[in-house]
């Protein structure tokens, strides 16, 4: 029996005005109304461009989504992945009826529950019990439904004896657990989830992911899941869709989708600070280079080679601080980490350039990227994700003229007797 289509998205596009909303909107509105009265299309729509963030835009309007078409079958768990700004959030907002598309139509079957945030609308002055009722009602549950599930919700959140405490006394973790617990018992036919799982402690995340799996597998519910975390997408989803600059780049079985996403990821073999996580700090990492033993910048490493990671700061730091970096594979799985604190090296020598030497590059064939941070004991001064990518190839790791037999994983030194 072929399964029912429960979500049908047809030619959905969404246009946004750029810049300061509010300035000049009156004249724009009048222009639009005038065009509408004459039966002409929106004069700003034709100017709108595709949403490519790296390019400076020439017009004031942009297509956050353009001609999105796909269908979701009942019981499917669809992962929506894509870079920042690819249109994931816009799509979620449209699906959860926060805003409407500029063109196109979406049809859905069954009760839709969306979880763009946990604990929406909870009031700090109200008790946990009152907030469960409030939050549940906001998400569309009736009082009777919530009453029936109250014990389970409290149990799942693990806040048993604090049930009549105002939640302003709760730790942030407890609040998140409470919010998620309400959401977990929402039981809609279609569940739309944003990266809300990113919050909360590891144990709770496991519980939450488990709960979501139960929901989809056990009860045949449909789940749309948006995440940056490839590991949880892979674990949870059966199918996936990749958004690229507001268009559908790929749809298919989840591992194919992730492969597509990874292989099409833009790779910067020069330093790139687009993913800087610390804003507006006066100490900044201004360059990261990967060099060989001849002090030349390289974008390809052979395993077993000696390499130097060179980090340049915009200014010297006057107190003790640490630098660290980690290498990750394209699936965002950490490979190894080097830092000054683990080597008990104190940096306070007022230099701007620092070098870390890796005597034998251990990783096998593949692409890897580096996340890097600079911190003092108390504050994170700068942290850049995907600061630089490097391509690694199998090399003469053992210095024997024989290449290692495996191309995956990593290499280690060993002896035979």
């Amino acid at each position: 029996m072929s399964k029912n289509t429960v979500i049908k998205i047809e030619n959905v596009s969404k246009m946004y005005d750029l810049g300061l909303v509010g300035t000049g909107t009156l004249s724009k509105d009048l222009n639009r109304t005038w065009a509408k009265l004459r039966g002409k299309p929106d004069p700003y729509a034709t100017l709108a461009e595709l949403n490519v963030r790296s390019e400076k835009s020439k017009s004031n309007t942009v297509w956050a989504l353009q001609d999105i078409n796909f269908e979701v079958k009942q019981g499917e768990v669809l992962g929506i992945i894509g870079k920042n700004g690819a249109g994931k959030s816009t799509l979620l907002k449209i699906l959860s009826r926060i805003t409407t598309p500029t063109t196109g139509i979406i049809k859905m079957k069954g009760r839709v529950g969306s979880l763009l945030e946990v604990g929406t609308g909870m009031h700090p002055e109200m008790t946990a019990r009152q907030n469960v009722f409030l939050n549940g009602a906001i998400m569309g549950m009736t009082r009777v439904e919530i009453k029936r599930k109250l014990d389970e919700i409290v149990d799942f959140a693990g806040i048993g004896k604090y049930i009549d405490t105002p939640i302003k006394r709760f730790s942030s973790g407890m609040k998140v657990r409470l919010g998620f617990a309400v959401a977990a018992f929402l039981e809609p036919e279609i569940l739309i989830v944003d990266e809300v799982l990113a919050v909360g402690d590891a144990e709770f995340q496991k519980k939450a992911i488990g709960k979501m799996q139960d929901v989809s597998k056990g009860k045949g519910r449909t789940v749309l899941f948006v995440s940056h975390n490839m590991a949880s997408v892979k674990k949870l989803c059966s199918n996936g869709i990749v958004l690229e600059n507001g268009k559908v780049g790929f749809t298919g079985e989840i591992s194919n989708t992730i492969n597509y996403y990874i292989s099409n990821k833009t790779i910067n073999n020069k330093f790139n600070s687009d993913n800087r996580q610390v804003k507006n700090n006066d100490v900044k990492i201004t360059n990261v280079k990967i060099k060989n033993s001849n002090n030349e910048s390289i974008d390809k490493i052979l395993s077993g080679e000696k390499i130097i990671i060179e980090i340049v700061l915009n200014k010297a730091i006057n107190e003790n601080f640490d630098i660290g970096f980690g290498f990750y594979n394209p699936e965002e799985i950490p490979q190894f980490h080097c830092s000054t604190e683990t080597k008990r090296i104190e940096l306070n020598n007022r230099k701007q350039i620092y070098q870390a030497t890796i005597n034998k590059w251990p990783l096998a064939t593949g692409k890897y990227y580096l996340n890097i941070y600079v911190r003092t004991k108390t504050t994170l001064l700068d942290y850049i994700k995907e600061a630089i990518w490097i391509y690694s190839e199998k090399g003469d790791f053992y210095n024997t003229g024989v290449l290692p037999s495996w191309s995956n994983g990593f290499y280690i030194d060993y002896d035979w007797e």
């Binding site: 509105d29 907002k93 959860s96 598309p101 079957k109 929406t120 609308g121 009152q130 906001i138 009736t142």
Partner: protein
């Protein structure tokens, strides 16, 4: 095969496609919001629920001093304090509902940006939360009426009092209607919020029934300004309300009919505009 879709999301919405059915489905949410307003209203205050009482009593005292004392335009033959208690209570409910409803999108963008529910629930929450506060203040008015009955021997209540729920209903419709219209505009033009915040409280000075009765008010005004008093729907409502409770004012069905007519038109207009705004306001707010 004909397929059944129960949620359809599309760019445009019919002018009258107002989903009252889903508002009804979310009635539990409305109850929870009202409950929230009620339990959190006087949290973190020292005097707590006493504020419900302090505000109208002080307003009455000041009005009595300014209008009755300084300006000398207070109504004749009835206790001034009662008069200046009753009008402002009703006005305050109108004003609160109007201004709070007009800020509904801005105040709730946090929630509106994260979850869907019929947006009309929020203005309804404002309306009903305000009604609770109004009901409490009405008790003070009744207590004051009883006090004057025992101290002066005259009962100021009129027989027409039985119709007073009609007055309240018209005030609710009018205030919500105005609020809805403005709420739609404030999502884009934030200036309006400032205009409303200081403008609406000023309106009470040109509304009959606050400073003095409708009849006196119209006689005192320069001839040119008389239409402002005559076509002010709130004027008749407050004047009737004053008449019912205090005995100073007037009551006639024609004026009430006029106010009710305006109120219904404004509310319909408000709902239509609100309904068109709610679908996309997150992009502009």
């Amino acid at each position: 095969m004909q397929e059944k879709w129960n949620t359809i999301i599309k760019p445009k919405r019919g002018l009258f496609a107002i989903d009252l059915k889903s508002v009804w489905q979310y009635r539990d949410l409305l109850k929870m919001f009202v409950f929230r307003d009620f339990v959190t209203y006087y949290k973190q205050t020292i005097l707590g629920p006493l504020w419900f009482f302090i505000q109208p009593l002080f307003t009455a005292a000041i009005n009595l001093f300014v209008f009755g004392g300084l300006a000398g335009i207070g109504p004749a033959g009835v206790p001034g304090f009662l008069f200046y208690l009753s009008g402002p209570i009703l006005w305050q409910y109108f004003q609160d509902t109007f201004t709070k409803t007009s800020a509904v999108f801005i105040e709730n963008q946090q929630i509106f940006g994260k979850v869907y529910f019929p947006r009309l629930i929020m203005p309804l929450t404002v309306l009903i939360s305000g009604l609770m506060k109004f009901a409490v203040q009405l008790l003070i008015l009744i207590a004051a009426v009883v006090y004057y009955y025992f101290s002066t021997g005259t009962l100021s209540l009129q027989l027409e009092l039985v119709f007073f729920p009609i007055i309240i209903l018209i005030v609710m419709i009018l205030a919500m209607g105005f609020g809805l219209i403005v709420s739609a505009l404030t999502t884009k033009y934030r200036d309006l919020k400032f205009l409303i915040d200081f403008g609406v409280p000023l309106l009470k000075y040109i509304t009959p029934g606050i400073a003095t009765t409708y009849a006196v008010f119209v006689n005192t005004l320069p001839a040119k300004l008389v239409p402002f008093a005559k076509y002010n729907p709130m004027g008749y409502l407050i004047d009737s309300f004053n008449y019912m409770f205090v005995g100073a004012g007037s009551f006639n069905w024609a004026s009430l009919g006029f106010s009710a007519g305006i109120a219904i038109v404004i509310l319909l207009l408000g709902i239509i505009i609100f309904n068109q705004t709610e679908k996309n306001f997150m992009d502009t707010v």
